[in-house]
Amino acid sequence: MLDISQVYNINFLEEGMLSVIPEAIVIIFAFIVLFLTFFEKLSKSDNPYYLSLISIGFSMLYILMLSGRTIDGFYGSIVFNRFSVFLFIGILFSGFLTILMSKNYIDNFEVPLPEYYSLILFGVASMMLLVSSNNLIMVFLSIEFMSITAYILTGYLKGNLRSTEAALKYFVLGTFASAFLIFGSVFIYAATGHLNLYNIHFFIVNIASKGLVNFGDIKIYLAIGLILFLVGLAFKMSLFPFHSWTPDAYDGAPTPVTNFMATGVKIAAFAIFLRIFSLIYNFNIMDFNNILWMLAILSMSFGNIAALMSSNIKRLLAYSSIAQAGYILVGIIGGGYYGYSGTLFYLLAYVFMTAGAFAVVIIFENFDLMSLDIKKYSGIGYKYPIVAAAMTFFLLSLAGIPVTSGFMGKFYVFSAAIKSRYNLLVLIAFINSAFAAFYYIKIIVRMYMPDKEELIASLNGVQRGGMSGGSDQGKPSGDFGIVNGKINEELMIVIFICLFFTLLMGIYPQLFINFAHNSISSLWNI
């Protein structure tokens, strides 16, 4: 008779609990917000919104207190280290900005508020769990957790056909990809006998270096497992050809949720991929670098080319996010200290520039579907100069023009790849970012250099009729972010935060680079 308590240290609570307190804070607050549903008065007011913001703040505070420590919790299911801290901050920022921009957006729709905010908080928690999970079960569970909140949030606008359809597509595709992920885990498990990432890592390093087992035999299982697992992760990272949900889901989802998906989901997915890649993939099992190489090129090329002809701003940003995923992947391919920290840096930069862009999208969105057309942006450079200037900066950052974080990020990951002599890859990436500038500039053109008639139309506030989004008719037709000609404060706060970080990371990135470096150093700190 085996006493399991002897095998495993039962006394896990003291240390282990510390490692999940950031998540726990968020989850507890999510519950509190959820309970507000029971009190009609409370749920109708702004309470859920403020509570959510507070929870993020608390979690952030706690993380900063804890930062620098490395805690393995729950028998290695969860790892809290500087790597997670970096990404926690990114995710919490993503959640924070999403909540900020939701306030105004969601108020326009008659939807229950507590559930919405609690779902966002659950989403944040699930992403944090994903980032810190150290076990295939945990990875799978958190991915599903994260996805399911995303599905629900995507379809949150009840009665809006686009929202429901987006949820439907996202759900089917997401689940399909998850199936590959678990099926892949089967083979990884079969080849290594472990589910813990560190154990798998040790197993691979040992057999690779010492030849304890016939590596060639299990290599096939390992490879097929890793490929199928990669499919599941690549789906979340929206790499071509696993990207196909991205434009539709981004398009149909409520814009704050789109932002949440574009920033939070993406960095969480990239973070866990980075961890798994650095622990497992990167050991000559097969040339995964080549696969990623191709995925990166395909993603950036497809994303950019498809974005060229898009006229819907959300779809355009979706395609752009596919391309950005390609760029980020370049950093992972570049590898090493340099490449991984570059990836983290880029991810953080990506959060701010994308969130900023989506905040601007929200400002000019309304119930009319045409408000998402880039024609809507005609002449806003003159009407709302600050917003337009900020938008310009975000777009330039996405395009990778200097003085913005986007440039520094690109520079960082690309130079890492050159350092590992992926010359062709970087060259293609550079060419890509050159012609990608076209569609970002297309929007800037609209904002500042509209055709005469378009300008007149936009100045007169004439709305174009056309496809209207389902049952939204009869709702007030003003833009969401603009009340009496003034731009909503929360959105302005979002824009300013994003602008601040976009510029800071572009002009003085050293702070963030140090941070990213420290984080990466904990990746091997097993």
Binding site: L2, I78, T149, G155, A167, I218
Partner: protein, 167 residues
């Protein structure tokens, strides 16, 4: 034992095929239940009676009932009308065959790690599979277990939000 394996295999594969080829989703659902039973059989063969029971309870019992309920809830005759597109079926078959061949070849060519664990057939039978699973679940995997509970709560909220007629 081998014979049982083959029997279960044939049932499982056949019923799986029927699930995807039946026009009536209700029939498909019933075949799916059959498939789940076959899988439960496998689990018994693999010393995991607890899992077999779970399989039947959770899948055949809960999920499938839910599915059938939904099929009934939605207008069945309308659902039945959805036809397959031959063109699409053809492409799907091609992809299916390619993937099947690839996966089979890999599975046949590769081999697993040598067994290293201590939970042999004898040990499992000695302790009892339910007890082992329980011990693992509440010690080593306690955290995922807890997360799963939150996860289910979120799913409940989601289902509630989706299925509600109006907010």
């Amino acid at each position: 034992m081998e014979a049982l394996f083959y029997v279960f295999s044939i049932i499982a594969v056949f019923s799986a095929l029927m699930v995807i080829s039946m026009k009536n989703p209700l029939t498909s659902a019933l075949y799916l239940v059959l498939c789940f039973f076959a899988l439960a059989g496998f689990y018994v063969l693999l010393d995991m009676q607890f899992l077999a029971a779970m399989q039947i309870l959770v899948y055949a019992g809960a999920i499938m009932v839910l599915v059938v309920l939904i099929i009934m809830l939605l207008n069945l005759s309308k659902i039945k009308k959805i036809k397959m597109d031959l063109h699409q079926v053809f492409i799907a078959m091609v992809i299916f065959i390619i993937l099947l061949v690839e996966i089979t070849i890999y599975i046949l060519n590769g081999s697993l790690k040598k067994p290293t664990g201590i939970y042999t057939h004898a040990l499992i039978n000695k302790i009892g599979n339910t007890q082992i699973l329980g011990e693992f679940l509440f010690t080593k995997y306690i955290f995922p277990f807890e997360v799963a509970s939150v996860f289910l709560l979120v799913a409940i909220i989601g289902a509630y939000l989706f299925a509600k007629k109006k907010y």
